[in-house]
């Protein structure tokens, strides 16, 4: 991510230190992770110490300091989804992507993550890709769903 793009995001928020989280969120959503150089740039422009930015960036789970894939796959393993077979869905996703929860594949295509509840237990087992929810998924269906993402 180049500095011009970061500056543009910061300018959008009028360079206010209080918009730090918004700025970080925008960088995160565009770039999928927060590289150190980007954080340094934000620190300089917003006049916020790097230690404070790191504190925030490591506190919220929405931020990642390591590269993430273009598509974020979230599998719900909450109670309702669990009893409806979330672990089998997770197993098939692990096999298809070749990664464990919390990991990212080598060509930065998918990141796999388990979440505890996405709030639509009636649709369990639920998985979410880039915020789009897939309900009542079976292990076999995951192949077709993942095919839609490049």
């Amino acid at each position: 991510m180049n500095n011009d793009r970061i500056d543009k995001i910061i300018d959008k928020h009028h360079g206010e230190a209080s918009s730090l989280i918004q700025v970080l969120l925008e960088i995160q959503s565009e770039h999928h992770w927060l590289p150190k150089d980007a954080l340094k740039r934000v620190s300089e422009k917003l006049q916020v110490p790097l230690t404070q930015i790191l504190h925030i960036a490591t506190f919220y789970k929405a931020f990642s300091l390591v590269p993430k894939g273009r598509h974020e796959v979230h599998v719900c393993v909450g109670t309702a989804c669990h009893v409806r077979g979330a672990s089998r869905v997770l197993d098939s996703l692990r096999e298809l992507t070749g990664i464990k929860p919390g990991e990212t594949d080598l060509d930065l295509k998918f990141s796999l993550e388990t979440v505890n509840c996405v709030g639509c237990c009636a649709l369990g087992p639920v998985m979410e890709i880039n915020g789009k929810t897939y309900g009542k998924v079976t292990p076999a269906e995951t192949i077709d769903v993942l095919k839609n993402y490049e």
Binding site: L50, T51, L54, H55, T58
Partner: protein, 198 residues
């Protein structure tokens, strides 16, 4: 300047507005144990060891005296069975993190805290934030900060800043209530471990 009258351990105390209970107690020679308090720094209220019992209009509550502002007619008890029990518990939890800290051991003796009550999880850090706040507020270098949250929270030096500032300063080391070595260890780790290829 208007005075605020309150009672601490049965003593009448006159305090100025804006003082905390801890300040007021100190002014009449009553000592309250603290770990995260430092005169030069803003109150932080993280160690909870300065917990005292306060009666406000007939209601008793437990508050951290280092952040609780004095108020008219409140009654403060700095040592009661309840307060001592809480301090003992806090110390026992801290001792699981820093079992060999001299400061904690002295306090443990006073409050009868058992060093081995909880399973040891020696992280040597009790998150008092003295080093972090000293670096930010007094030195204004922000070389050390907290990272992560909850049980995984720890202090971390920014290698780029630490390489320039820390070697000649090290003023945060003696502040540490557990082991000065903790900050030293994290600092040297930040400076000498090879960085991953970016």
């Amino acid at each position: 300047m208007s005075k605020i009258l309150l009672e601490i351990d049965g003593k009448e105390v006159k305090a100025k507005p804006g003082m905390t209970i801890l300040d007021a107690a100190k002014s009449v020679g009553i000592s309250i144990p603290t770990l995260c308090h430092h005169e030069a720094l803003e109150p932080f209220g993280s160690c909870r060891l300065c917990t005292v019992e306060v009666d406000v209009r007939g209601w008793t509550s437990l508050v951290a005296s280092c952040v609780y502002p004095v108020a008219e007619n409140i009654v403060v008890r700095t040592r009661s069975a309840k307060v001592d029990r809480i301090r003992k518990m806090i110390l026992e939890l801290y001792l699981a993190h820093a079992p060999d800290s001299f400061e904690l051991q002295d306090l443990a003796q006073e409050y009868g805290a058992n060093r081995d009550r909880f399973e040891k999880e020696a992280s040597f850090c009790i998150h008092c934030g003295l080093c972090v706040r000293y670096c930010a507020e007094v030195k204004q270098k922000n070389a050390v900060g907290f990272v992560d949250r909850g049980a995984r929270k720890e202090i971390c030096f920014i290698p780029e800043i630490a390489a320039k500032e820390c070697w000649d300063c090290k003023e945060c080391f003696p502040l540490c209530p557990t082991e000065a070595l903790q900050a030293a260890y994290v600092l040297s780790q930040a400076l000498f471990t090879p960085r991953p290829v970016s």
